[in-house]
Symmetry: C2
Subunit: 273 residues, 2 copies
DNA sequence: TGAATAGTGTCTGTGAGACAATATTAT
DNA sequence: ATAATATTGTCTCACAGACACTATTCA
């Protein structure tokens, strides 16, 4: 049948023509946690951490997964992500960016479900006991070589690790293609989401200012350096770090005292150049 | 109802519980085209170009759009992209990476349709008259300032331009959020896809080797430099460019002669370090 | 010969890496 | 005084920007 106008066409459009599927928004909530130190003189050490939720229902009952949920037909995946984030942390105004869309055929045993994943960055100090019961921060220890990424998760009560393999498809697709090598405790293909997010964050921390979304309003350069170090997984030299960061931060009158050492100046993020 | 095992749960799962939607794969096929020169002595000048398809049907009948199509329920969006690409160019083995998922509620007037977009890079020499009838390469002229991107499309017969505005959402989302300011001839939200792809390519060309996917097997450094220049939208200094690129290319015995000037050595891509 | 591009040499300033040195606090 | 971190100084080396210069071809 031929239509003369778009209006006419739309009125007669049969929306059931193509098969449909469900979509979820899954959110990688990254943060940096403080581990208090035995020795009063030492700085509290920092850990790169991710928020996981224990599944109460099938599928993958009792396994850990990223906070997520089905997208409503009347909201965008970003809106769904914000809703879930709000639900999980009771916070709005969190840094959020779309990460990747995962849609391998059998990633969900129930049926074909596509996942649009988002990455959120948060300063853990903003949420004080606001977590829901099933949610828990896991510190990540990341070991990476050319072939694999090995991540150990630890929330204080439970420890487990996953291994994700990297294949580099020379020309035809993304630089790295990930596949799960070992995984007992994480649901779905979430190890792939986590590894993708880590890669993204590692890259972006070098050429953007996103790191400040994980920082409180006032912080010392030592703390900021520690955050860089746990995310990049390597130590940085103090003078070099200070030079690079100098244009992005503003000195304040405040100081942090109390450690058994010279007090440090508190800085704030200075947006723009 | 409570289930004891995952198997039992899955057997009884009602997959119609959540509303569903359709998904398309849309592909941004970028290339660099040669404009032959009047003066025999001059090099042919290059243009950054994108493949567009004229819509034969509603919606957006007679407008131009990115090659794309509905994803089958039994294939992934990447597989769909490859299928569409094969269909459009008759080529396999094309560089392809997932770009972004666009899912604003009313992006398609028919119904809720989510688009997973891919970016493909291709050497135009690989396809000789292989294009389908409705497809056409458009050279892009890109003017960008802090607030807007203005792109003029030209396929030899037709010229039009679109304007996309940039908003930078300080903390809560991606660095830039795009919105269409002016658009007459492109269908759907495809101006946003194109701008996102250009941003991605501009970034990646600096820290990856993807540019070689747009080059033939043998090329001169002058040609390669021209490709960088049209994509980055700025001129580069010869010695600096040669220094940077040196480790990525391999000199051959071949030469390109025939221009009214010194012949140039042909190089090949040298993968790895 | 001259127009046009190919290709090289080299100076200079910037900025990162490395290491050393100094400063300041709580016990 | 000492452990621990904070903060600065400075040397060196690599490298990007800039510009000048040489090389080679074909009508």
């Amino acid at each position: 049948m031929e239509y003369k106008t778009e209006k006419e066409f739309l009125k007669n459009y049969d929306s059931s023509k193509f098969e449909k599927l469900s979509v979820t928004s899954d959110i990688l909530i990254f943060s940096v946690s403080n581990k208090t130190q035995e020795n009063y003189r030492k700085l509290s050490s920092k850990h790169f951490s991710v928020l996981l939720v224990k599944r109460n229902d099938f599928p993958f009952k009792n396994k850990w997964c990223l906070p997520g949920g089905f997208m409503d037909i009347k909201e965008t995946s970003l809106e769904a992500a914000k809703r879930i984030l709000k639900n999980e942390t009771n916070l709005s105004n969190i840094y959020l960016e779309q990460l990747y869309t995962f849609d391998s055929i059998n990633r969900d045993p129930r049926m074909r479900i596509m996942s649009v994943s988002y990455m959120a960055l948060i300063d853990q100090n903003r949420l004080l006991n606001k977590l829901t019961e099933e949610a828990s921060w896991f510190d990540m220890t990341i070991l990476e070589d050319e072939k694999e990424v090995n991540i150990t998760f630890d929330n204080g009560n439970e420890t487990f690790s996953v291994v994700v393999g990297k294949t580099l498809r020379e020309q035809t697709t993304d630089r790295y293609e990930f596949h799960i090598v070992k995984n007992d405790r994480l649901a779905f293909d979430h190890p792939l989401v986590i590894v993708s997010g880590i890669e993204r964050l590692k890259n972006k921390i070098e050429y953007t200012d996103i790191v400040f979304n994980m920082m409180p309003e006032y912080f010392t350069l030592g703390e900021l350096q520690q955050v860089y170090e746990v995310i990049l997984g390597k130590e940085l030299l103090d003078p070099a770090f200070r030079r690079i960061i100098a244009s992005k931060v503003e000195k304040t009158q405040k100081q942090r005292t109390g450690g058994g050492h010279r007090p440090s100046v508190l800085y704030t993020y200075r947006s723009k150049k």
